[in-house]
Subunit: 455 residues, 2 copies
């Protein structure tokens, strides 16, 4: 048997609870601070932005949090997602390792993002919210929230980073097909946007700027809430459904991974696959290796500082302790837009700081090499973000080959690349090159981190 | 329960046999004629183009033809495809009808086309073929054969209709990612292409021209075979796996369709869903209605003539009896490129001529209206071709509403629209308008049909 095998669960096996890693951590995570007082925020500080149920999830230390039945009913559209044994890739590499991938591109929006967009939209709907704002870089998150909004009749406004708005009209069309409104950011609709445009009329935008705009709209309009697609604890929580399913699927396969791999921008698809396995490690299981893969041009974990920082450019968000390159750091314009963020989710940063996971950075041509190799073996075109995980999985499989070890490797194929074929066109034409960040700019951004007393 | 429900089969339930409608027809299909002698062709006439196993399938009258195990193993990458109850769409329409759709967009190439690309590539591989040529219009077939070629290490060359090559760079990138070579057609690589370019240096190309080029390359090079993605009997045969799975899934659902709907260009996704149900009708079951939906701008069944005609522009192919608009007919440039073909598959034409199925034609704006309504209800963006089936399913559901009938409707969602978002952009911007063919041009094309003695 030389072909791919899917490990499929029944719809009745969609997990009933999300897994909260906080319950199993050897050290609790650091407090979130108010940007003005620099004192820990309480739930009421976050109320202008989020409904109370999500705020309570953000600060919860319960190990298991129930997934509402209506949310599970919607998940049946694409969940359980398949765990697939990549036998053809194994053969192409000639490795004794077993390579599996969890495929999240089966969702309507084509990535893992609907796993949190749907519950976020649902909790907002329950709280009577009818309007949501958000930002999007690569477009995966924006299209996922647009999709979730269409399910619950919620108006969704997406501030899309200008360069992505211009370069990826198909992503925008997807959001509009779901009924969302897209605004290129920086825009004239917010003070944050106008301030940037005044300085830089031709600004290509950034995720940090777009977050400022979306947060500002929610903060100023009582009938509008804000939704974030990564970084925050409740987002990581919602994504754990990926790893929980994978654990059941490995039981079906009679296997158990030695190495668990995912790309990490804000950290949500990484946490989604990794945290349930990390929980097994922490609760006394054997120690499975867990690797977060980031772009060498935006190396938050491998080159950033673990410090309090803002999530956005205009400094409207609370301060969170995370691995950061500084909120003023603008990474080069490489193709994995979903990984172009200056910070890393606080929970991912925390477990990295505790030495519970590893991190690795790759340049983009090596990732696209891996993505094309994967597509030719397994048929699926990975999103540029996901090619980082593919690269690492291939390298681990080649290490196994060199060492003669039959380890089991699993990676998260967080999304397909159907809306990112422009990047593949550049790759084939040789226009896609490796890019380095500016060391001086990074030093300056890190020097500008806010000063905060030890928490 | 108001949400979508998937009816999923186990991989072990992937059908073991294709269903051949010829065995159950009240009248045998018409012979295929040699373009020179106008006498019925024998298997040896087709040998320059196809491997013998496919030729034998082309002329077989056996009811069941075994699917080779290696092909079934590859099908496990995406099959069985889900049958989904579109409850949200039902609710949005307020219809008592039950609407189901079979979703073929789950394949790596995003449509039903790999169902025949994989066995075609496999039979060629078994026959020692290492090079295949084909043509593609919308790009679904070209990317599917490229995918299949990557699995079996077969070199694939795709003649892509020039206008599609220029307008859909993402489709081309997909084919190149799978390792295929794409050539815009008409090209300078063939006599057929050079002849067109001499007359019309700026020719946007057509499927008929691209077929001529691909066939010419195979005919002139003994080490190259040709593969066709629709029209022919063996292609219809391979696609019956869709309807065979659907029959099992309706048993699971405890339901049985009253109306079966699919769009029809060459007829393969239509035959794939419809023929197994038509077989049930013919073998003494109740009479389920079966509707083929075509574009009003290329209305092969509803306005074409049932006559012998060529499959291509340069008249290199055999003559087949089909509903045709004439091989010189060039349809307007509407967005469902996969439906822009002057003929209809002979088996589909035959059952239409026998009164066993219905046909209906729609203009494209009505189809995109339906596609957007569907996407907002069910999350999936349909391919422009598939929106024709969605339109018809919605209209049938609205008829049920008007008549107060709780009929069961199923349609084939033959592919997703991720590579066709340009059409949605035009739709939202109001640039997508209805288009009519030229009546005088149609009359001329029909007048030019080859004269053939009754067979």
């Amino acid at each position: 048997m030389s072909d791919q095998v899917k490990y499929t669960l029944e719809e009745s096996q969609i997990p009933k609870f999300w897994y909260n890693i906080v319950a199993d951590l050897p050290k609790p995570p650091h407090a979130v601070l108010h940007p003005g007082t620099k004192q820990p925020v309480g739930p009421s500080d976050l109320e202008p932005l989020f409904p109370m149920e999500l705020i309570l999830q953000e600060v919860s230390a319960e190990r298991e949090i129930e997934i509402p039945q209506p949310v599970r009913d919607i998940f049946r559209m694409w969940r359980p997602s398949p765990l697939i044994r990549a036998r053809r890739l194994e053969q192409a590499l000639g490795t004794p390792a077993k390579i599996y991938f969890k495929y999240e591109g089966v969702s309507p929006a084509g990535s893992h993002k609907p796993n949190t967009a749907v519950p976020q939209a649902w909790y907002n709907k329950q709280a009577g919210v009818t309007k949501l704002t958000t930002e999007t870089g690569a477009g995966q998150w924006g299209s996922s929230l647009a999709f979730a909004g269409s399910l619950f009749d919620i108006d969704v406004t997406v501030f899309q980073v200008r360069v992505s708005y211009d370069q990826k009209p198909y992503r925008r069309a997807l959001m509009e097909t779901y009924g969302a409104r897209c605004i290129p950011s920086p825009s004239n609709e917010t003070d944050s946007g106008r301030a940037v445009l005044k300085e830089h009329p031709d600004s290509p935008g950034s995720l940090g700027i777009a977050i400022s705009e979306a947060v500002e709209v929610a903060a100023k309009n009582p009938d509008v809430k804000y939704a974030l697609g990564s970084v925050l604890n409740h987002v990581m929580l919602h994504q754990t459904i990926i790893g929980e399913e994978a654990i059941k699927q490995f039981e079906l396969a009679g296997d158990d991974p030695d190495v668990i791999i995912a790309c990490a921008g804000g950290g949500s698809n990484f946490a989604g696959l990794a945290f349930p396995f990390l929980g097994l490690n922490l609760r006394g299981g054997r120690r499975r290796r867990i690797i977060a893969v980031e772009p060498a041009a935006c190396p938050t974990l491998t080159r950033g500082k673990y410090a309090y920082d803002f999530g956005d450019t205009s400094h409207l968000t609370p301060l969170v302790k995370m691995h950061t390159l500084g909120s003023t750091f603008i990474p080069p314009g490489f193709h994995a837009g979903g990984l172009r963020y200056h910070g890393m989710g606080p929970l991912v940063s925390h477990v990295y700081d505790l030495g519970l996971i590893e991190a690795r950075a790759y340049q983009q041509t090596a990732c696209f090499d891996a993505g094309v190799k994967f597509a030719r073996a397994e048929g699926i075109i990975p999103a540029p973000e996901s090619t980082h995980a593919v690269r690492c999985a291939i390298d681990e499989a080649l290490r196994c080959k060199a060492e003669g070890k039959a380890e089991t490797i699993v990676f998260n194929l967080s999304g397909h690349g159907h809306f990112d074929m422009g990047a593949y066109i550049n790759y084939f034409s040789g226009k896609l090159v490796d890019q380095d960040y500016d060391e001086a700019e990074l030093a300056m951004a890190l020097a500008g981190l806010p000063s905060v007393a030890a928490q």
